[in-house]
Amino acid sequence: MNIDSVDIVTEWDIVAARQLGRNEAKKVGFGTVDQARITTAISELARNIYLYTGKGNIAIKEVTEGNLKGLLVIASDEGPGIADVRRALEDGFTTSGGLGAGLPGVKRLMDDFKIETVVGEGTKISATKWLR
């Protein structure tokens, strides 16, 4: 199984993470629209790590399920955690003057989406896009 990852500490790491994501998406065989979806989702997750936590990581992994191939993106951090996940997933909810589009957007852009978060410990978001 292929795993690649980028630590997110500075703004430039956001650029590195999405470039890695786009390359992996191409390798798996995704078309341009899915490549854009995956790149955008990674950009949102990486920017959230940069904005709301001290440090985190974006891992990108090719996965298979039966004869389905996909790309799994795992964003993990040891930041403050998300107290109210339901609200964080609402369109327009932001604590930073953003558009509040990131998390609900990632959920729509990807096929599977899961948040595990503990206040004071950190957050792990896993999102998969399947190749059709």
Binding site: I14, R22, Q35, S43, E44, L99, A101, G105, L109
Partner: protein, 120 residues
Amino acid sequence: MKMRIPILKLKDCLIVSIQWELDDQTAISFQEDLLEKLHTTSARGVVIDLTPIDFIDSFIAKVLGDVINMSGLMGAKVVITGIQPAVAITLIELGIRLENVSTALDLENGLEKLERELEG
């Protein structure tokens, strides 16, 4: 590392062609540079061409939306051109509506559209 996006002037319009993937710093300085240039040239219109851009996230979308609103405040019309299909699709899925934005297929059409709007 800091890159600046060139802003050209043609008659009373400014033309911006974004040629590479925007990082946050470049996006922010583009916003400042464009407003400054609007101020110093008294241009009445702006065409922003996004042809080479293959994805837009919520941050870049916010900067673009802000640029459009701020330009409006300064009395200039903005036309966005060259939005790729993949970009249009991901923007909608992100839930982002660029409100009151004038768009055109390419730079040439964008300039024509702007000229018509400025005359009318």
